[in-house]
């Protein structure tokens, strides 16, 4: 039995190394002297750690601007997604309106349609609306999502009807009920949805690549992809760029992982 325990834990450590070694290596190379990583065998630990690559990254590229773009867009996407999805999710769970269940079922079937099918016409719609090459165009697909509405609806179903009815009898308006009773009881799912929206927006690649063609407005992933084509041999600089792109989401995940994982589990049984 003790042999089994040893084997299990050795396998766990090996798999853990597989998962994080590339990230640790990224950190290590990002503080190496320029040119240091271009040796064989590749050094694992920097001989003389330096912040030179980060200084170069922010001084001679527009990385700070791209970082600000990504941060702003991720925050706006989160705010939009929270507003629209939470109101709709609550309505689908607790308010009555004609065709409610039919509309909801229709939304769910739309989950089988990959987003890329809509992408080219969406580009043309954005062009008509003057949104190409603007932050508005980037944000358009994140305003409302079927997944977001579904997530909030599942959670809102648990709000007791008696509580809402009592407030109505007291003469509270629907909006007051939403603000004073519904929103506070949706707390955890708001954090879950916010985490999903923020991480999704921060990491999105294909849509920003299509809709933004002005270098100044690029998001961090798009800028990093361009930069890595220009600086193919600058290992250390590119690793610093990767650290800048990854650190915010990794920290956010570690802090909020409970919420992220509960959302993921809800999303996996969406059928």
């Amino acid at each position: 039995m003790r042999k089994g325990a040893l084997l299990t834990n050795i396998l766990m450590v090996l798999l853990g190394l597989f998962a994080v070694a590339p990230l640790l290596w990224m950190l290590s190379v990002s503080v190496m002297q320029p040119g240091e990583a271009a040796h064989f065998p590749p050094p694992l630990i920097p001989a003389n750690p330096t912040t030179a690559n980060y200084v170069t990254l922010f001084a001679s590229t527009d990385m700070a601007r791209y970082f600000a773009n990504s941060l702003l867009l991720a925050c706006l996407a989160t705010a939009l997604s929270l507003t629209f999805n939470v109101m709709a999710g609550y309505a689908f769970a607790k308010l009555n309106f004609r065709g409610r269940d039919r509309i909801f079922r229709f939304l769910l079937t739309a989950l089988v349609i990959p987003a890329q099918v809509a992408m080219i016409p969406l580009f043309l719609i954005c062009k008509e609306l003057g949104l190409v090459n603007s932050f508005g165009g980037v944000l358009v697909p994140s305003i409302a999502t079927v997944f977001g509405i579904f997530l909030v609806r599942q959670y809102a179903l648990a709000i007791p009807d008696e509580m809402l009815e009592a407030a109505r009898i007291d003469g509270a308006s629907e909006f007051r009920i939403f603000r004073v009773i519904v929103l506070p009881s949706l707390g955890p799912i708001l954090v879950t949805l916010a985490t999903f929206s923020f991480l999704g927006s921060w990491s999105d690649f294909l849509w920003p690549l299509i809709i933004l063609n002005d270098g100044d407005k690029a998001t961090l992933p798009v800028a990093l992809a361009n930069l890595s084509r220009e600086h193919v041999q600058d290992f250390e600089l590119m690793m610093a760029g990767s650290v800048v792109t990854l650190l915010p989401v990794l920290i956010l995940f570690v802090v909020l992982q409970r919420y992220y994982i509960s959302g993921l589990l809800a999303g996996s049984v969406k059928g």
Binding site: M87, A118, P121, L124, S203, A225, I261
Partner: protein
């Protein structure tokens, strides 16, 4: 009906956004795929012509489309089973009573999932570097000659598979772990009393109990893997010798490099139909297995 009015105020903004920015584009995509929408139509819509099934017929005769479809299938066929196997292995390890520091390891295994794809693709491009890459150095320790991972058409797609499996295995692990935790201990106790060893317990208790979750996981993973795009875009630009051009990569180039938007939309639709058909087949198969 004041309350019905209030309900619509809650739901209408989201429905309007979904309608305008998702459902309308999907319907428009179907129409667009029957037109020759290109850079001239983009300049002046009067240049637009309906061409019936021409885009689809052209697609059938386009060598690079078949190549892209083949590459994507290769990626799916190699990547999906590997990814699910590693996810299952990780879930079994974390679920094991013998394992220690479960919370820590769960977080470590999941970390690649939340990373930004472009940033980790940049990292892996260097890990896979022919001359300075850690992976070739490690293989050298086993006496294996350096492999030109991203420069050799035979190795480029397997390299992308390894990267994708690393990136994604934690996602399915969480779902499978939740599935494992719903299997009652009594089932294992009963199997042990019947003299079942570890392997027999896994085959006759764990796998059958996990089957519904496995179905969800395989459908989600397959749908995700068919949408391969950013990995080849960042790591190989579709090369070498078109060996990593995927269906979406082909669509992106047709649409936004050559501005053949009508043609590109037909590519998107073919991808959708393939995905839909495969999902249906998986659901049918699972029904047959569950009621013999």
């Amino acid at each position: 009906m004041k309350r019905e009015g209030a309900a619509w105020i809650f739901v209408a903004p989201a429905l309007a956004a979904l309608g305008l920015f998702f459902f309308l584009p999907v319907v428009a995509a179907l129409v667009l795929s029957f037109t020759d929408f290109d850079i001239y139509s983009l300049a002046d819509i009067r240049n637009l012509r309906f061409v019936g099934l021409d885009n689809y017929l052209t697609l059938l005769r386009t060598h690079l489309f078949w190549k892209a479809l083949g590459n994507t299938l290769y990626f799916v066929v190699l990547g999906v089973p590997l990814s699910i196997a590693l996810s299952l292995g990780a879930a079994l390890l974390i679920n094991s009573k013998l394992a220690r520091f479960k919370g820590l390891f769960r977080t470590l295994y999941f970390a690649p999932v939340v990373t930004t794809l472009v940033a980790v693709a940049v990292i892996w491009r260097y890990l896979l570097h022919t001359k300075y890459g850690l992976i070739n150095w490690g293989l050298g320790g086993f006496g294996i000659d350096p492999i030109d991972w991203l420069g050799d058409p035979h190795w480029a797609m397997p390299a992308i598979v390894i990267f994708a499996v690393w990136k994604n295995f934690g996602y399915n692990m969480i779902i499978l772990l939740a599935g494992l935790q719903t299997i009652p201990d009594e089932l294992y106790e009963a199997a042990k009393i019947d003299g079942a060893g570890r392997w027999a317990q896994f085959r006759h208790v764990t796998l059958p109990a996990l089957a519904p979750v496995m179905l969800v996981v395989s459908i989600l993973t397959m749908a995700g893997y068919f949408q391969l795009f950013a990995e080849p875009y960042v790591m190989t630009q579709g090369g070498p010798v078109e060996s990593t051009v995927s269906v979406l990569y082909f669509m992106f180039e047709q649409g936004f490099k050559w501005w053949n938007l009508g043609f590109a939309t037909s590519v998107a639709f073919v991808l959708f139909v393939i995905l839909f058909a495969i999902t249906l087949v998986q659901l049918k198969l699972s029904q047959r297995w569950s009621d013999p």
